[in-house]
Amino acid sequence: MTSHIDTCGLSCPQPVLLFLTALRKTEAKEFDVLVDNEVSRENVTRAAENHGCHVTAHQEGNDVTRLHIAKN
């Protein structure tokens, strides 16, 4: 099961908070997190890696990146 999280337009600390809440509270093993700026991308990536997850980034549009995050 993949959990989908759209953080576009949200500012700190909400993108990381939404991801970490999903990481703790859902059964999902994989997460697709949409980010629309570099800061959110860096912060969510750093948080995921701190929790032992593997992150791959896919460019979705001009500003939007989809971070595919897999729990180890």
């Binding site: 500012s11 600390p13 860096e42």
Partner: protein
């Protein structure tokens, strides 16, 4: 570009940024900026408000080039590295109000978080109460975020809107150059200048703006934020930004000791008062306002340089709030809090709590 970007967002990058800001702030003090006020984002916006005549407190009027430099430095870095994106529309009027309250609270303490660090690094024990206040204020903010607090999503705006704040800063630089300070004159052209007090203490223009540009550039790249440092530790146990804050404190402390300007104590500290309760409560109010707005005043400057319209509105709130602080007798002085300082700090806190409660959204 990518590798350079990674260097700045690494732990080494944020530590380097914090240390450089700490050192440069003490350098600015050494070359003329007020005591323990190498860079203070709230005080300097207050001085700008005085410089353009929004308040007439004669001791705090000066168009601080550091602020213009910081925003323009961040603007250049954001353009160069592809981070510039005009965005906005996330509760702008609420953010304006948060800026006003942040300024009022910080001026009860007499400093933004950057100055709290510099005051501590100079040995001012009163700053400990300010710091405790920031921790509590930001801590209350994290409770709201845990409950689903959000000022809503921003959307992409027309690119031109992102240039407005940098152009306002450029206009201020041009005004300064057109009407520079003249010894013994309290006005040149349209600009007001202090002849005594903190507003009369300033480093040379080129040093101020040069350091501002460098600080803005580095902080934009590394995402340096003092409020974020504390928030991330409380909310996530993430220490990344806190490394920057610690590096700034340590570097400023070492520089002060080396220059003989470290003077530990509570009494007679530069531009500070000893009313601990109000040093604390002023910063609880300001800390909560920073947390709800998503960044310390410095970070808001850098985000405004990246094209963030909402951060720009917060900065305008800071400037207006600083003017109101002085016009309405709310801003403290070394003698202590002002007649309306206590009401302002408590009233601001109540408004922030109301903003927090009324913006809790589920599933936003």
């Amino acid at each position: 570009m990518k590798s350079l970007r990674n260097i700045f967002v690494s732990p080494a990058g944020i530590i380097l940024t914090g240390a450089i800001i700490g050192l440069l702030a003490i350098l600015l003090q050494h070359y003329g900026n007020p005591g323990n006020m190498g860079i203070c984002v709230v005080c300097f916006n207050r001085d700008i408000a005085g410089g353009i005549g929004l308040h007439r407190a004669s001791v705090v009027q000066y168009l601080r080039p550091e602020i213009m430099g910081m925003l323009l430095g961040a603007f250049v870095a954001a353009l160069f590295f592809g981070d510039f994106r005009a965005r906005g529309g996330s509760s702008p009027i609420t953010r304006f109000l948060l800026g006003v309250i942040a300024s009022i609270g910080a001026l009860v303490f007499l400093g933004c978080p950057w100055r709290a660090i510099l005051r501590l690094a100079g040995g001012d024990g009163n700053a400990l109460f300010g710091f405790a206040g920031i921790f509590v204020g930001v801590g209350i903010g994290t409770l709201f975020f845990r409950q689903g607090f959000s000022l809503g999503r921003n959307t992409t705006q027309h690119r031109a809107s992102g240039f407005v704040m940098p152009l306002i800063m450029l206009a201020l630089v041009l005004l300064y150059l057109l009407y520079p300070p003249i010894a013994g004159q309290e006005k040149n052209g349209v600009l007001f200048y202090s002849l005594k007090g903190p507003g009369a203490a300033h480093a040379p223009f080129l040093l101020s703006i040069g350091i501002g540009l460098l600080v803005g550039f580095l902080a934009q790249r590394s995402r340096f934020c003092t409020m974020g440092a504390i928030r991330d530790v409380i909310l996530f146990r993430h220490w990344h930004l806190a490394l920057g804050l610690a590096a700034m404190l340590l570097a400023a402390l070492v520089a002060n000791v080396a220059l003989g300007s470290f003077k530990p104590g509570f009494e007679g500290q530069p531009i500070a008062h000893t009313q601990s309760l109000w040093n604390f409560l002023g910063m609880v109010t300001a800390g909560l306002a920073f947390a709800l707005a998503g960044g310390c005043p410095g970070r808001q400057i850098f985000m405004a340089g990246e094209g963030d319209n909402d951060a720009a509105v917060f900065i305008l709130g800071l400037i207006v709030g600083a003017a109101l602080s002085h016009n309405f007798d709310m801003a403290s002085s070394p003698a202590g809090i002002a007649a309306n300082g206590a009401v302002a700090a408590i009233g601001g806190l109540v408004i922030c709590l109301l903003i927090g409660i009324t913006n809790i959204r589920r599933g936003a």
